[in-house]
Symmetry: none
Subunit: 226 residues, 4 copies
DNA sequence: TATGAATGAGGATTCATTCAT
DNA sequence: GATGAATGAATCCTCATTCAT
């Protein structure tokens, strides 16, 4: 960010950027605690200690503000993926080679961890998942958040392809198809766990961990099959 | 509900029941065409040709009305499951024995068909799935719809257990755990297909059918494993 | 309901009608004192001592409310026309025959009086006059106020035709054309008098009455020409 | 304005004046296309490629900006009057003598032409006409636009007086009174034509041209009377 | 001079629910 | 039982104007 030379960001720009982030911070605080629908722009403005109009200087609608949060959510998720995938440098041995399957397991683990530790961001993604979405309508620059999400999924695709190459993953898969299917399945299971576990527990005495473990097993055993 | 004396339902009761159903009919028409949020009680009342107050004699809130629809959705789904599972009586041969695995495949197929042919009910279920749910809050009698949903899942559980017995399904599964996991995964994949396929198609040129087929393969191959 | 005599308005209907009028009363009070733009529905509701929502039970928009006022304005104007045109029964002599020209003079006088004594209604009409109007958009039943206005103008047309017949008005006129032209001219002069007299007085030391008298003379002398 | 020393206008002054006009240009573009209410200062600033604050260096309010447009409108109208009144120099014959009545006819024709060809400016004047006006409130220098309007009317006054002298116009008129009355009448008829012709056409099958011709006839016949 | 970031008041409308009749 | 009139909270967004830089 502090690039050194070429760009020389003006202090004005910096202040602007800070405020931008501060508004998202405030929005997160309000939206995560009240829910998107029940959070009003007034509340966000108050939380951010800014005039309501100022919010609209930075985000042209409440939805845009939500998308900024979504962007953060996807970005955070992808970064965790990347961090976890980065070959660990174990002391004295250099890099550890990881198979594609290992990578996929890692991603899955990270996802579950993300679900546990970043419930708010996870819910933002979940909300998005359930939102009917029209690709055409928004100006191109508003789709950044979307591309961040796609980028996260592409990491899964890459690992599947890697696995196909290194033999850790069955070779007959279409990587993209499999990746999206896994994605959907995983979101579905976590949604169930997140929103309906009380019922499941009540009627069948199951624990979230069981479902998650089962899901994990299904995916991994499928990938590795044969 | 009116157990005890099965016969002698007063004509009053009958009229009441008819009106009850008529209101749900009206609610479905309105809600399915406008969406839950955008459908007002006024519209439902008009559609049902009843006073708005009357609605509240039968359903104590808009949500209750939605739940009645949800009940129908689950009921419809379960009936389709049952119908498809009923051993076909092929002429002259008596019943066809079906393995648990066959039953599970059938259920999955029926589910997919349900998704295609009953989008409205499917969406009702999907909406419910995404709704934070608190078991405690509603009066006991409002949970009927829930139990109908549970009953549908229990058909899955039964088939898994049947499969374990007849050897068509791997024996190490916990039936309930697997059933809920499958349920979650399936809802997740169909949610993705339903709400985000435009994006998936746009970025990775996939078709809904591919994801669904992949999902089907994952589940079946897992069940049958070994 | 209580049939008896064909019309027999139910007390409910009466209450409804009363409230309807009461709302318009309140709206007039608020709108005439603050101006249409600056009058809020809240203020009207408060003035009417009703919930804001109730207003919308009777008028489906603020504009509709304004139109109800406009209707009253036109109705009031037309009634004054009618009352003034009604042949006076002078004691002992029976009806006075009035020529068309007399009728037109009467209408003009009444209009001027209306301008003086019903400034608020006059301004409502003036505002309407300056409002771009689209015939197509409103539901038919919303145009009642318009037809009331048309009816007022038609009285002018009738008098011109009457005058052509009885010879008091020049015979080469197209009654409708003349009537609308007079209407436009009169509104224009009164608008000037109403809104810009201060300026006219300041720069040319004229009085409203002079302009009005001049206008009167122009019209009458034209009508009677030859 | 800058009388006194006609020469030596500093380049600074020139730049200032240019910018001043450029802002009005931008304002016209925006206001004429969106309407006064719907045009925002932001839009004007963008159109003028200036900072929003800069606008306020040249015009102390949005209204002031509108008045500058109004000034142009009146100026344009008056210039057209002047141009049309200027005695034509027909080749070989020297100047044509024109009577006052001719001049008044000319002015009326020009006005109608102005209405047709400069609808935007005409509407600006119309809007002004309908605006309640308070002579006291504005700083003296803001009334320039007003005086431009007055100047236009004074041309009418002059022509009436000229006509009284040369016998083409009846001698018993008060020139100022008549001029303002004509002005009001004309604005009224054109307002009707501009805003309500759809209705008039709908209910009485009249055409704008008919009303305008009728108006013309009324005025001219009145002026020339006897 | 020029800028443009910040402000915050302001308003029409909808709708689930109640309750007197 | 039926009704439907009444309620009033709740919310997004715009925009003229100011003022620190």
């Amino acid at each position: 960010m502090t690039m050194g030379t070429p760009k020389e960001i003006s202090p004005k720009e910096i202040r602007k950027q800070k405020r931008y982030e501060a508004i998202i911070d405030a929005a997160e605080k309000v939206i995560f605690s009240k829910g998107l629908e029940d959070a009003s722009m007034d509340m966000v403005a108050k939380e951010a200690q800014l005039g309501k109009g100022t919010l609209y200087l930075y985000f042209k609608s409440k939805n845009e503000l939500y998308r900024a949060i979504l962007y953060r959510a996807f970005l955070s998720l992808r970064r965790k993926f990347l961090a976890a995938l980065k070959p660990e440098e174990v002391e004295g041995q250099g890099e550890q080679k990881k198979t594609g399957l290992d990578g996929l397991k890692t991603i899955l683990m990270v996802y579950l961890q993300f679900y546990h530790e970043n419930k708010d961001y996870f819910n933002a993604i979940l909300y998005f998942q359930n939102d009917l979405f029209n690709l055409e309508d928004p100006a191109a620059n508003e789709k950044v958040y979307l591309e961040e999400g796609i980028a996260a999924i592409e990491l899964v695709i890459e690992q599947i392809e890697q696995g196909k190459k290194d033999g850790s993953v069955r070779g007959d898969l279409d990587a993209a198809t499999a990746a999206y299917t896994f994605w959907g399945q995983t979101m579905g299971v976590l949604q169930l766990v997140q929103k309906k576990m009380i019922i499941v527990e009540h009627y069948h005495q199951l624990k979230a961990e069981q479902l998650i473990a089962q899901h994990f097993e299904i995916i991994v055993s499928f990938l590795a099959k044969r």
